[in-house]
Each structure stands twice: as C-alpha cells, then as structure tokens.
Symmetry: C3
Subunit: 133 residues, 3 copies
C-alpha cells in the first residue's frame, strides 16, 4: 500500500488537532487488518503525538507550557523567527507508530492521535504508511 496523505489547514500559531478519525478512515478504506501504521509529518515546525482525547484543557495546558518553556522570542539566531517551533517539533517528535490489529488502530481508551502545529497558520500534510503483517 502506497503512503496516504491527510491535508490540514491550521488556524493559529500553535494548535493541537485530533486526526484519529482521518487515520482510522485510511485503515478502513484500504481494508488493512494487521500491522504497523506510521504517521509522519514532512514539515520541520509541526509534530505528531498521542494523548488525551477527552478534556480539551489538556491540549491547552500542553501548549501553554510548551510556549512558556520555549518562547517564540528567546535570543535565537535563526532569522526566520521560528526557532522555537523547530525545537518544539524535535521534543514532540515528527512521527508516531501505532499498532493495527483486527482492522483497528490500537489506542487506549483516552488516546487520540494529534497533529501539533507550532508555526501556523499554514496548509499542512501528514503521511500515513501502513506495513501489513
């Protein structure tokens, strides 16, 4: 199976967007039963994580803390002015690997797959590759 692409339009400079449904739909549409799904961001100022899908305050607290630990202005030398976004991306990770079993993305009850925008608003893409068993 060729890699599939999810397209996103982010709306704020830093933002966390749930893409679990989009990833699950790729499994379903391609009849994938068992294997590993790699969810990968081909950008350098946005990452992928897996975390709490219930209370939106978790996303807010995460972004507030990241912005406090790694502020937008902090004596950086990179002239584009988005060094903080590169650093946040490295700490978050550019991809996540999820187990697929019996046609399902194996996540815990409270887990969702999240796209983390650190230098928006921008048009973004996410690549999903599934290696079947």
């Amino acid at each position: 199976m060729k890699l599939k692409e999810i397209q996103l339009q982010t709306k704020r400079r830093t933002e966390v967007i749930d893409i679990t449904t989009e990833v699950s739909e790729i499994l379903r549409a391609n009849g994938i039963e068992n294997g590993l799904a790699v969810i990968f961001v081909p950008h350098t100022t946005a990452g992928i994580t897996i975390n709490e899908n219930a209370d939106p305050s978790v996303k807010r607290d995460f972004l507030t803390k990241m912005n406090r630990m790694i502020p937008e202005i902090d004596g950086y030398t990179h002239l584009e002015g988005n060094s903080d976004a590169h650093i946040k991306t490295i700490l978050t990770n550019p991809s996540q690997t999820v187990i697929v079993e019996d046609g399902r993305l194996m996540l815990g009850t409270w887990q969702g797959v999240y796209f983390c925008e650190y230098d928006g608003p921008r048009t973004r893409k996410v690549w999903v590759k599934i290696l079947e068993e």
Copy 2:
C-alpha cells in the same frame, strides 16, 4: 503474531521501571527471529523510553529534572490535576521501536527499555507488537 500485553503495578507518582526482560521474554516465547518490536503504552500519563540500565542515579536525575521543569502544580486549567503527567508523557513519547535480529532485542550495552510512570501509583499495561521480516 497478536500483540502481547505486559502488566505493571507502579508504586509512586513518578517512577521509571525497567521492562527489558519482559519484552525479551515475549520474543523468546514466540520464537521471533527478525523484525521490529513496537513497545506502546495505551495510557496518556505514562511513556516509554530507552536509556541507561546500569547506575540508578540516572533514573533519579531524570525524574528530578522532569519534575522541576514540569512541576505538578504550575497554573494548569485541567481539573484532574495531572496536566504535568500528560506533558511529560508527550515529551518522553508513548512508544519506542526496537530492532530484532537473530532472536535478540538489539539494544546497546548500556540500554534498557523503561516504562515511565508520571501519575501513579496505578495498574498499567504495555502492548508489544512484533512485525517479522
């Protein structure tokens, strides 16, 4: 091979537990020779890492520093009071992927696989899925 589950009972709020033996035992019991092992936590306040297996002071220094950078009380809005644990989990990562070759989990001499508890004590599980070559 279906995913296997490791069960853990953590004893402190933040704690790092070596699960290398448990993961290696899954390889052995299932006669896995070559492939990739994904070690995944289906919780949102615990992560997986790979680091120093010799001197326990490394684990202690890691937890002390994480608790100082991301304290339990820090002006969060999430009412459950464990936003720090969610943030620590995202920065640690919810999973690790390890190479399997000739029946062995390919780790460096000083590396072990660690479960990182950030909101214990709790009963926890870890999923291990192996994709064979």
Copy 3:
C-alpha cells in the same frame, strides 16, 4: 536484510550531524524499494531527530536552548557528570522511523535525519534496519 551500521566521530560535547546521505546510501546499496527504515542509536547519551536541513542556525539555536534548559551542571547525583546528556537523549528520542517508497527515504523538502551528540567527542554508531513491504 541485516541491520547496517553507520560510524561517526563526533568533535564537540554537543553537536548535531546530518546523516541523511548515509541512510539513503544504505537504501540504494541494498536495492530497497518500499517499507520502513528504523534509524536507532545504541548509546544512552545521543539521539536521532528529523529537522531543518537548510539554515545551520536552527541546529545552533536547538543546542543552545537544550543546554540552557538542561545544563551540564544542575545538582545531579550521577557521578559520571553526564546526567544532562541522558535527559537530552530521552527528550530527543533514541530513534526515528522513516517511510521508504519507490527506493526513496520519504522526507519533506526541508527535512534531514540528524544524529544528536550530547556527551562527545566520542566514536559513535547508528543502526539502520529496513523492513520491506
């Protein structure tokens, strides 16, 4: 395909080295067309990340910030004096997984694969394992 090894000699205590060419060369030399490449560091004081390959100021800003957030001397108990390097490694991650398609390492335009040295100078190795489709 057996895992392949890349060897590196780092020159500074903290340093970020582009290994994209070395990883791509492994794909080419082994005629790999489709699958997943796992790039894994078997050390506990060096990690792998994927980020900006163009402006070197991004690497410099990343290391400066990591060294400010997690300084070399910070009240650690580990007697080897490199607890900061272990912590930086955990936050960076010891490995990255990249999609391989049509014989190419699927990276975004501005992405490169980077070895992150946090306790050099040292002789280091990186393992690359490719699981083909």
